[in-house]
């Protein structure tokens, strides 16, 4: 079976090469303010092939595709469609050049029917009546041709996500798309829905369409693509024929061979469990189950790392543990006290019980950007007696302590009065870290501790985490940076699609972890 597949894919790749490429990007650049999201991107995609683009979150994949779909305009570079240089100033132009896109967050109007969604922007006349009958026929034809049955009169908002995605694909095909871009299409799908999607993509390819598949899941790349490109930190680092590469190689390319940061990790005696989570299930606000029956424990003097590509339930896990959101079910034992996480809790209560939390996204949660440094230094602890005089805040005490922390954590510039927004990423993170460490918690939840942080601060932050460990605290570390997880953790669990798919020691190889992060447990398979 596998052999036949290989030959088929190989053959197809050769055919593709002989033609003019469907898409060619030369030296494409795009910046958002100081963030260089795409650096000198070159890309060639053969006609009638499925091309995968793989990379971690924030690697710049979505930005690149948005440029191709006219949602953003590139700062510089050339785009060629079917060999001809062109510009794509807006989505309308992309559509007219035969490009269709299935966004990660569906661009559907929920109360509309399938048919209405499909014809929006391509109604075929000022009156709906004129176009609708045609559209219904055309939709039926497309559905038959590509094996995508759907009720044209169902309200889209009431369809399961798999069918909603089908509507998005039909929408693109209805507009006559020859190139179809799918941005993380399986993120919201069940495995069987994903399989069905891949069948559809193969049919599309066989009909001569070009498919661009953006994903961070290696398995999908291997399963369905003909060629693959890897992006890392805004750059295109490699292009391969899928048949000539392996998951291991792609995992390495994707994560990058950056030097392991040296972290002093002394022997620490591991004590009793301070945090014990059992049977945790969490739904997001759309009702999707994001954390599935997760159980683990973290002992005193131990760092438990949770690895995984972001979006696999880690954020929801942190939110539920820290009391921000309510879990569907599950219990947590915090320093010996048992809590029902399906009950009503709030973050203040959890702090009170000795758990502090460095959130994944400091701008969205960890800081109030418009507040000054010292005001941010008490966020979540503002009701502590040491910060108050009756109903008032004791600003002198707060400032005094903030100053001490600025000194201790070397926060720059050393001022308590500047608003948080004006500090650099690393210093912002230090403000949060100082707040959550200096309160002397038993358990520290810490998410993406070094995201958007300058190199200098990374080492400092890592050392503080190691200090916590040495002091006999329990640390739960969530990070998408494998290096970080490996160098800091005593044990590593990997989350994929809401499940814990495996546990490893810190000596686990990048490859092994990379495969786990893609949902492949080799150990279990053996």
């Amino acid at each position: 079976m596998q052999v036949i597949d290989l030959i088929d894919q190989k053959g197809r790749a050769t055919v593709a090469e002989s033609n003019v490429p469907a898409i060619e990007l030369i030296g494409v650049n795009k910046s958002f303010g100081p963030v260089h999201a795409n650096k000198d991107i070159n890309l060639v995609v053969g006609k009638g092939s499925i091309h995968g683009i793989i990379g971690e979150n924030g690697a710049g994949k979505s930005t690149l595709m948005s440029i191709l779909y006219g949602f953003y305009n590139a700062d510089s570079g050339t785009i060629k469609i079917d060999g001809k240089a062109t510009t794509i100033p807006d989505s309308k132009s992309a559509i007219s050049q035969g490009i269709g896109m299935v966004h990660q967050h569906f661009m559907l109007v929920d109360p509309f029917t399938v048919l209405e969604n499909v014809i929006l922007g391509a109604e075929g006349g000022a009156l709906l009546k004129d176009g609708v009958a045609n559209a219904r026929r055309e939709l039926q034809r497309l559905a038959d041709e590509y094996d995508m049955t759907i009720d044209p009169d169902a309200a889209v908002g009431e369809l399961p996500v798999g069918l909603q995605q089908r509507v998005e694909i039909l929408k693109a095909l209805y507009r006559g798309a020859d190139i179809l871009i799918l941005d993380e299409p399986t993120g919201v799908l069940t495995p069987s829905e994903a399989d069905h999607l891949f069948r559809i993509l193969r049919v599309l390819r066989d009909q001569g369409k070009t498919v661009l598949l953006i994903t961070h899941k290696l398995r999908e790349i291997m399963d369905v693509t003909d060629t693959v490109s890897v992006m890392r930190r805004g750059e295109m680092v490699a292009s391969r024929k899928t048949a000539e590469t392996s998951m291991e190689e792609l995992a390495e390319l994707m994560v990058g061979r950056s030097v392991l940061l040296e972290v002093d990790k002394p022997e620490v005696e591991v004590g009793k469990p301070l945090l014990k989570v059992e049977g945790l299930n969490v739904r997001d606000d759309r009702g999707v189950l994001r954390v599935k029956d997760v159980s683990f424990e973290v002992r005193a003097g131990e760092v438990l790392g949770i690895a995984g590509v972001s979006g696999n339930g880690q954020s929801e896990l942190l939110a539920a543990l820290s009391g921000i959101t309510r879990a569907e079910s599950g219990t947590m034992e915090l320093s010996g006290e048992k809590l029902d996480l399906a009950g009503v809790h709030n973050a203040a209560e959890m702090r009170h019980k000795g758990m502090s939390h460095v959130p994944e996204d400091r701008h969205r949660m960890g800081l109030v950007n418009q507040f000054s440094e010292y005001e941010n230094s008490i966020l979540g602890y503002h009701r502590e007696p040491k910060y108050s005089k009756g109903m008032f805040l004791d600003r002198d005490a707060i400032r005094k302590e903030a100053k001490e922390r600025i000194e201790k954590y070397d926060i720059r510039p050393p001022t308590t009065e500047m608003t948080a927004a004006k500090f650099s990423g690393g210093n912002q993170q230090k403000i949060v870290l100082a707040r959550e460490i200096e309160c002397d918690p038993d358990v520290l939840l810490i998410g993406q501790p070094t995201r958007g942080v300058d190199i200098g601060a990374i080492e400092y932050i890592h050392n503080r985490i190691m200090d916590m460990r040495a002091q006999g605290k329990a640390v739960l570390l969530v990070s998408v940076e494998l290096d970080e997880i490996r160098s800091l953790s005593d044990r590593i669990i990997v989350m994929f699609d809401g499940n814990v798919v495996g546990e490893r020691g810190p000596e686990a190889t990048e490859q092994d972890l990379g495969l786990l992060m893609a949902g492949v447990n080799q150990e279990a398979a053996e």
């Binding site: 921000i324 109030v368 503002h382 109903m391």
Partner: protein, 367 residues
């Protein structure tokens, strides 16, 4: 200074000033369209408001109203809530004040009635804000719409009460009876006899307004509750992260906001009119929106903005008297333009100013 950012004084000084100037320029054009000289108009306006003791007295009297309603809107703004119901809350608050005065004025001196009247106004104003607050916090109904509805319901309720319940027997005009001395706030013209306030109704409520400014300043910037209100308003996600309950903050903030609006009646009901009468709020609740926007939510800014609007209200009356073609409604137009430019078009000049400063800073960097 990195690109795209502006120094503080530009953000809090220059941009609001530009917005205000734009509003005044358009107002001037309106005067030109009417066929009058805008500079002449400004002269009468300023003279009418500040040129003599009685004018100053009236200016302060109007400003007092606007401080209360401006603070009400501003406090809600700090929690990210748009309380457009200040008018109704002030109106109903007046009822609380009137009830306190009607109950006590015959038995005790005004300074004993005063705290009860304050409590009555605050309580009734807060109560009127409670239902919209509860519906927003618990049931997700939009507070802008519900507070608008409550303005109209307040109006109907008060008309009914005034013309059927509170109206003294044998009179026709829908108002309560006049309060006796125990329900009257001293007028400043009787307190500070050395300054000639003329017949202006400015009264002790002015000092209450200033005191309330201090209280609000302390509340918002110095208490734990104020900290929570600001956190919730600036970043609801961070507030949730900090364990601050959105329901609690929404309701408490709206109660405070309603109470502040309710206090406005102290100035009019207990100070000027010494009775409760129809529609005494007279749009001050809405002026509060302009005052809060212009004052950028800070009590000092609100005092300044309230003074400006007090000046416009009093000066506008004088202007209408001197130049009859410019009726008092000119103030409403100016008010509208201030709300438009300082509020809805707040960022209109920002790109140009940013471009100017970027160019300026890159020039100096090169040099």
């Amino acid at each position: 200074m990195s690109k795209g950012q502006l120094p503080r004084w530009v953000d809090f000084g220059l941009l609001p000033a530009l917005n205000l100037i734009a509003a005044f320029i358009v107002s001037g054009l309106v005067v030109v369209i009417i066929g009058e000289d805008p500079f002449e108009a400004v002269k009468w306006l300023v003279w009418g408001a500040l040129g003599y003791g009685e004018g100053i007295g009236y200016t302060l009297y109007y400003a007092t109203n606007f401080i209360f309603t401006g603070l009400a809107v501003a406090v809600a703004f700090h929690a990210g809530l748009f309380n457009i119901g200040g008018e109704g809350q002030a109106y109903v608050g007046g009822l609380g004040i009137a009830l306190a005065c009607l109950a006590l004025d015959r038995f005790i001196p005004w300074w004993v009635t005063f705290p009860f009247a304050i409590a009555g106004g605050a309580l009734f104003g807060a109560a009127w804000a409670f239902i919209p607050a509860y519906l927003q916090a618990k049931r997700g109904s939009h507070i802008v719409i519900t507070t608008i509805m409550f303005n109209f319901i307040a109006s109907a309720l008060m008309v009914y009460l005034l013309s059927n319940i509170l109206i003294p027997q044998g009179t026709m005009s829908p108002s309560s009876r006049n309060f006796e001395a125990g329900g009257q706030l001293p007028l400043l013209r009787n307190v500070f006899t050395s300054f000639d306030f003329g017949q202006s109704p400015v009264n002790l409520a002015f000092f209450l307004a200033l005191a309330v400014c201090v209280v609000v300043w302390l509340l918002i910037w110095h208490t734990k509750l104020g900290y929570e209100i600001r956190s919730f308003g600036k970043n609801p996600d961070a507030a949730a992260y900090a364990g601050i309950s959105p329901v609690r903050i929404t309701i408490i903030t709206m109660l405070i906001s309603g109470a502040l609006a309710g206090l406005m009646g102290i100035n009019v009901v207990m100070g000027e009119q010494t009775r409760l009468l129809l529609d005494f709020a007279g749009g001050a609740g809405f002026v509060g929106i302009a005052v809060a926007l212009m004052g950028r939510g800070h009590p000092i800014g609100i005092i300044l903005a309230a003074m400006l609007f007090g000046l416009l209200y009093q000066g506008g009356a004088e202007l209408a008297f001197e130049i009859p073609t410019i009726s008092r409604d000119m103030i409403v137009v100016i008010q509208a333009l201030v709300i438009l430019f300082a509020g809805a078009l707040e960022h209109m000049f920002r790109p140009a100013v940013v471009a100017f400063f970027d160019r300026f800073s890159s020039d100096t960097a090169e040099a």
